[in-house]
Symmetry: D2
Subunit: 160 residues, 4 copies
């Protein structure tokens, strides 16, 4: 079984029609798994629902503790892209012997044209086959946690 931890990020941004602004509601993960007709055995838990620019060290400690304490040894984490690498570093420092794959989206799933479903299919697959370690899965590619950075100008994850 694969554990999925939801932390928010662009993946789960929705449009608040009363305020006319982006916001977070419930996660779209279950709907996405249904749309993708996923038959991967998963358990989904929402840890937080935040923009990753607002994620604190305390938030990261919550993520690390959940990775350590959960029964599953294969984990996918949905996460905002802006500080995904920073969280990967925290997990690498605190979690051993598990395969942890962080993924996200450049466009909210609630928009019709999201990369989220493609990334989710890719991340769930990497989580099944990669050896223990911490990885970032974006754009169909995967990176080891300490060999990647997000280029803020282009929005693309690049190898270090």
């Amino acid at each position: 079984m694969i554990r999925i931890f939801v932390t928010g990020g662009t993946f789960d941004k929705t449009y608040d029609e009363i305020r006319g602004a982006l916001s977070f509601g419930d996660t779209h993960l279950p709907e996405m798994l249904r749309l993708g007709r996923s038959r991967v055995d998963v358990a989904v838990r929402t840890l937080m629902m935040v923009d990753s620019l607002d994620m604190t060290d305390a938030d990261r400690a919550v993520i690390v503790r959940n990775c350590v304490e959960c029964a599953e040894s294969r984990i996918v984490i949905t996460h905002g892209t802006d500080t995904m690498v920073e969280t990967a570093h925290a997990i690498a420092a605190g979690v051993v012997g598990k395969t942890v794959v962080l993924t996200g989206a450049m466009i909210p799933y609630a928009f019709g044209s999201s990369d989220g479903l493609f990334n989710l299919g890719s991340a769930l697959t990497f989580a099944q086959v990669l050896p223990p370690g911490v990885y970032i899965a974006m754009n169909g590619q995967h990176f080891h946690w300490d060999r990647v950075r997000k280029n803020r100008d282009t929005g693309v994850f690049e190898p270090l």
Copy 2:
């Protein structure tokens, strides 16, 4: 680099608004890779554009020959689900030393609610990491070519 061979199937069915029926036009693969923001190095070639129920032995011979002759050792094939297992058998008999992943969709991509993008993300990922062999990637899972069948009643691929 991963070679993608397009053969048609539900993946690429479109709605012909003059005839009011399903039909095949150009493949949606490039649009799907763009939507998924894929940065996997791929080369796409359309071999045929058929419903897999109409696929002949001659068609399968074309697929096998292309798998053998292409320079790439990692291959993804989009294919109708009804005879995907049959084609996997033909490839297993004719191709050695390459990782070949067949995938498809239950709902056409041109419909808003397709599983195609999820499956494409998963198949491209399996093709990067699995050892040489012939596999079917559907629903986020993968099956060895000789240990799977499609349940025609439920539409689901099951282990043998």
Copy 3:
């Protein structure tokens, strides 16, 4: 209040993933009204769910009788485009003193890129403001029942 009669047509075609073919299930009308955030006071009734090429004289008699017998004087009918004009003639012969607007779609609503929502918004509007008579509303335009034909080659409704 506006009465909406559903008769099927491209509007309501869905993809049957087990058979890999187009089919009719429940109507998408309530979902479309919700998506459009319609606040028009309507009552929806499904009379049949057929491809308009398969519609019989008996089917048309059912439609005419429902138009005559319903309490509302303003009616929208969703209908396949191929024989929409023929049904409009039947209604014109049998219904007096009511505003009846037939509409449809060239692409099924279940596809992401349907003209159905645009046509529904237009037809509900024409039904509110046009004087008694039988009309076809397609492409944002309206035609009196006896001054229109569908061009089968282009798929477009044209004035006679």
Copy 4:
């Protein structure tokens, strides 16, 4: 011919994937007209691309002047919903003898689930058939400019 003036609003908000925020790019009007297969004779002109909460008196003067000076006597204006009523008042004070219909959306068109296409179909239809005057067309309904307000709590336009 119907003149369409674009002023921005939720209708045309897009997601800026570099900044992770809502923004305005080019208008989606031509794409929406194509999707709706509209055959209404229209000319589209973008006057501005702003959130209606940021619209100034000078902006409204630009809209009024364009309504007065354009050759067409039937006009649709896409506009943010928050100050749509205020702009309608300005137009009513400055434009005579023309049918002006303001419309908008609660959800951006770029999201998959927008009410925009329904509203556009409705607004283009009201513009064809209503007598000279200034109207707001939302939710399939229309309101005279001085008999409507937007309920900010529910997001719904209500009669005064």
